[in-house]
Point group: C2
Chain length 302, copies 2
């Protein structure tokens, strides 16, 4: 949060600084907010930039496919022209193939993702580790292959000023999408590397149920490893199934304020990114969804 | 496993005991197997008893509704008449109500469940803790209410020779059904009580993703707290959704043999219960499903 405005040179002698008014608090909070592009996938990149900036939201998280379609450097310029930070690029990863060809293809694709992040002008590449290959039963082995891939990629990314951000996904995705299921596992992986090379993503949707998160957030914060803080609500029953059922803030049972206070206490002062995969939101007017998201953020997170 | 048969009194001098043959190994393994009634809910209790016993399966896990319909003592006699153990009664729990009336109703219902278990002749009452009440966001508070309820029930159950078996359910159920999401949480709750009063349920479907399970199983075993060991497979994508998608053994990615070896190493020698909630199995002939289940168990678990 920024300090209150400067005292006018010709004013009275400085007393205690006045508390910022509600409008300043709101503006500072919105400047910290980032909206992940998938939340409003119905918007083009220019629409996203315009509507997000118009609301005073400070940043966006972008995805590789639309960024490549637009051109990574051009997308970065577009966002900067609207005063927006690109808080993350989603996503690399999918490192769990066992066969050499699959493994090589994954590493090649991730080097391309690093380059796209650098061209876009973001320092955070979100990685989803990949699931168990079909027919496999060896979860520890798959997790070790993720570590091996990070070891190959981390120096490459660091040279390009991009940090690999390992995202733990909810355990319900352990088989098909992400063998890294907890913040503890993500941290254990990240701690094999420097904090400049590998960080972790903290996403409330994936972690809200885990009582170890407060301690792990403190540990991640001490190490400077919180690379992204993402929000989505957990709604019961999952409104659009396991994959797309991520609820608008306030519609479910996540205690966002407690999460945000924990990340604050851990020393994290970076962006707070809202990432909702939810067809009900995609069917609505994108600008309306952005406005609602900003209001929900101010109500439930601030 | 039992020792090989006695040496005939008039036989040759005893040498090394012969290894049990395949038929004896199979019979001993099936004697350890228990099939949870929900796996074949299309069968009545008499059908379940007859078909299970005919296959040489040693036990059944039963559910309160059908047991009450038949009469708990009569159901117990029926199973014993077929040489079957009742390895568990499912289920009590749902302790997370905040209001005094809801809380009192839950405790009353659980005392009734304890009495039903005692009448049925099983020492294991499986408890599912309950989820977050609607509109609640305080997961630690809900978990503490579970502990409070256990404290009220444990002496009552112990007097009736029934052990409360706390079942951690997969984290995807934390909001609506079970705030106890890991074996670690279940153990932490159970350890507030004697191992005679409160144990834990180890279910592969709920725990397969968690890398801490091997250590926790060892700890649970040392304390004699493994009250039930249940099997179901995790199939991707979940074939019947979050609630009913429990796969037949071998259809998914769970390493059952590794799990069974871990429970063996932890000193657990009790029944191995297969509990599948799966409409595709319910639509089939129940005796066929039982037979398939026994064969899958022999192939993937033994």
């Amino acid at each position: 949060m920024s300090a209150p405005g400067p005292v006018p040179a010709s004013g009275p002698a400085p007393g205690p600084a006045p508390a910022p008014g509600p409008a300043a608090v709101r503006a500072a909070a919105l400047a910290r907010l980032s909206v992940n592009q998938e939340t409003v996938r119905q918007l083009s990149l220019p629409e996203l930039a315009r509507e997000t900036a118009a609301l005073g939201i400070g940043g966006v998280g972008l995805w590789r496919d639309p960024v490549r379609g637009y051109g990574a450097e051009a997308a970065g310029r577009l966002m900067r022209a609207h005063g927006l930070r690109v808080t993350s690029l989603c996503r690399g990863g999918f490192f769990t193939a066992k066969d050499p060809a699959g493994r090589r293809a994954a590493l090649d694709d991730n080097r391309a993702a690093v380059e796209e992040a650098a061209a876009l002008g973001t320092g955070t590449l979100v990685l989803v580790s990949g699931g168990l290959p079909a027919g496999e039963h060896d979860l520890p082995g798959a997790r070790e292959r993720v570590a091996d891939a990070l070891a190959e990629l981390a120096p490459y990314a660091e040279e390009r000023a991009v940090r690999l951000a390992v995202e733990p996904l909810h355990p319900m995705y352990a088989s098909d999408r992400c063998v890294v299921s907890t913040l503890g596992q993500a941290l254990a992986l990240a701690e094999r590397f420097s904090a400049r090379q590998v960080g972790v993503v903290v996403d409330t949707y994936h972690l809200w149920w885990d009582e170890r998160v407060p301690d792990q957030l403190a540990r991640a914060g001490e190490q400077g490893r919180i690379a992204a803080f993402q929000l989505a609500d957990w709604v019961t029953p999952l409104p659009e199934g396991v994959l797309l059922g991520r609820g608008q803030l306030g519609d479910g049972c996540v205690d966002f304020r407690a999460f945000r206070e924990l990340t604050d206490a851990a020393g994290y002062s970076g962006p707070v990114e809202v990432e909702l995969f939810n067809p009900a939101l995609w069917a609505r007017d994108g600008a309306d969804v952005l406005k609602e998201t900003a209001e929900r953020y101010l109500t439930h997170v601030l």
